[in-house]
Symmetry: C2
Subunit: 145 residues, 2 copies
């Protein structure tokens, strides 16, 4: 109700929420703003602490509940990596994968994996029917090298 929301991502997210019958509240706006603008993996507690700076009444529970809805709508994705599996990042449209900085958690996106041939080979050799794949690169971002 007071939120001076910045960029366009958020308003798209807002629209998406509305279209799916969810209400726009200050709590949700605060959480969305943090996640939409972050280039870094954030876990629920980090999002909570960050969002409370602009919305001190926010409860941790609402962070969980908002993340759940954003994930359900495909606006964010949960990221698994060696240091934990409870972090989130804004999702990109299309078929993209993540490269994550093992030091600071900064995320970039890439596409163009050429996994088709590999998948076919593995299907033939293993007898499995491949439904999905999970590819992620871990490394050091420019600043952390």
């Amino acid at each position: 109700m007071e939120n001076p929301v910045p960029p366009q991502v958020d308003s798209q997210w807002f629209a998406c929420l509305r279209q799916n019958g969810y209400r726009l509240t200050d709590s949700r706006r605060a959480v969305m703003q943090i996640v939409a603008e972050s280039e870094y993996l954030l876990n629920p507690l980090e999002i909570y602490e960050e969002a409370r700076r602009t919305h001190p009444r926010l409860g941790l529970v609402s962070v969980y509940r908002t993340l759940e809805k954003l994930a359900e709508l495909g606006l964010i994705e949960r990221v698994h990596h060696p240091n934990g599996c409870n972090s989130y990042i804004a999702a990109r449209p299309g078929h993209t994968h993540l490269i994550i900085c093992q030091n600071c958690g900064k995320v970039s996106y890439f596409s163009g994996d050429r996994l088709g041939p590999l998948v076919e080979t593995v299907e033939g050799e293993s007898g499995y029917q491949v439904k999905d794949h999970w590819l992620q690169l871990i490394g050091l971002c420019r600043l952390c090298q």
Copy 2:
């Protein structure tokens, strides 16, 4: 002290433990036997319940502690997948990846990913220095199709 341990994997694991200064106990043997022989992802509770069939005195805590050591020695690996991140599977030597049945949790191994070129491209475009990659296939095993 009574364990009629079957195959060879275990004895290799036993040796590895000994070589690293760890003692061989019934609890550890029971846990190792279950994990070494399983083709399926197992979480600590599942391992506990299974191992208790041959070693009823086993405590869940010892399962956690044994898994910790086996992982530290590289004998098992923790597997992350959409349904959870607390499952383990015996590790294979060399550079292998997993294909997991989304229905029953059965695991097969494969190697021969051709990620070199992709990694180079991503490094160039993103400025990240890639240290590791994480590739996993999800699908249906022969029996679950």
